[in-house]
């Protein structure tokens, strides 16, 4: 077997250090945007999600060696398909359950409906 038989072997220490440095910075930024009391309140969650997604991409590229090179493409396609499934599962679950909560829980009954029920 060649030394570079897998995308996860035979890579440099430098690449590792870059990945770690970027991840560390993004982690600190995410915690800082919540604990630092500097970011406006309605911007905190978007900031945390932005830094989180950025860190996922950094680690996929620098640690897990995912990319568009021919030998990596297959795994990247599987990841993209999985992410699509995840978006459908998580997004639709939250959407459906939120609507059920808003429309079907007793507290959303209007006062008139409640009076007529009694």
């Amino acid at each position: 077997m060649h030394k570079d038989a897998s995308p996860a072997t035979g890579h440099g220490v430098g690449r590792c250090i870059i990945g770690f440095g970027l991840s560390l910075v993004l982690t600190v930024l995410a915690f800082w945007s919540v604990m630092g009391h500097v970011v406006p309140h309605d911007m905190i969650m978007p900031a945390v999600i932005f830094f989180g997604v950025a860190q996922l991409l950094v680690q996929l590229y620098y640690f897990m060696h995912l990319g568009l090179a021919p030998e990596q493409r297959e795994n990247t396609v599987y990841l993209i398909l999985t992410v699509t499934l995840i978006v459908i599962i998580v997004g639709l679950s939250l959407w459906v359950m939120h609507n059920a909560d808003v429309n079907m829980m007793p507290r959303s009954m209007s006062v008139m409906d409640a009076v007529h029920r009694e």
Partner: protein, 202 residues
């Protein structure tokens, strides 16, 4: 004659290469199915995160400094695993063993902190039976913790194998799979601290 032998050995090498790459791709597909397990747990947590049943909320339970330290331990362990794999190309057995051992210690510290946190929560009457929010929290974070624990077991086994069999092609392939698994757990943890902890205390 010579030509055909060279071709044959080249073919063999190619075959071995393909087999190794296929094993990695197969393991990658397993990781993707594991992603879906975590996706459903995250969806459950997202739906139930405000269903506290009059019990404690995320804001009153979680200490972000503690979570930050856990995050640092896991990120460092991902880094040291990367260093262990970098040593692979130089056939440096001792350096591989050393970094795998450091990774094990960091991972074990992470699990120790997590168990400590869970015990603390349960002692404060904030166990998984307290509310739907806490059930979803323990389900999601606990599943990640079980994965890391199994990863530690796998690390111990692979350290033993490197010690006894050296760094042949089979061990290299196993190390590559475990490295993907370990980095994957750090990816899941990024989602956990972003959504469960940072999102929770807002």
């Amino acid at each position: 004659m010579l030509h055909s032998t060279v071709q044959a050995s080249h073919h063999d090498a190619d075959h071995g290469h393909e087999k190794g790459a296929m094993a990695i791709t197969g393991f990658w597909i397993y990781l993707m199915t594991d992603c879906l397990i975590f996706a459903t747990l995250f969806a459950t947590f997202g739906v139930l995160s405000h269903a506290t049943a009059g019990g404690p909320t995320a804001g009153s339970l979680f200490d972000l400094n503690y979570v930050g330290l856990e995050t640092l331990l896991l990120l460092l362990s991902s880094f040291t695993f990367g260093l262990a794999i970098s040593g692979l190309s130089n056939e440096k057995k001792t350096s591989v063993i050393f970094w795998l051992f450091v990774t094990f210690l960091l991972g074990a510290s992470f699990i120790w902190m997590e168990i400590h946190e869970f015990v603390h929560l349960i002692a404060e009457n904030a166990g998984p039976d307290r509310s739907a929010f806490l059930s979803a929290y323990f389900g999601l974070v606990g599943t990640h913790g079980i994965h890391v624990t199994l990863g530690l077991l796998w690390l111990a086994v692979i350290i033993h194998q490197v010690l006894h069999f050296g760094l042949d092609a089979t061990i290299q392939r196993r190390l590559a799979c475990l490295s993907l698994f370990w980095h994957f757990l750090d990816l899941v943890w990024v989602c956990v601290f972003s959504i469960v902890y940072l999102g929770g205390v807002l």
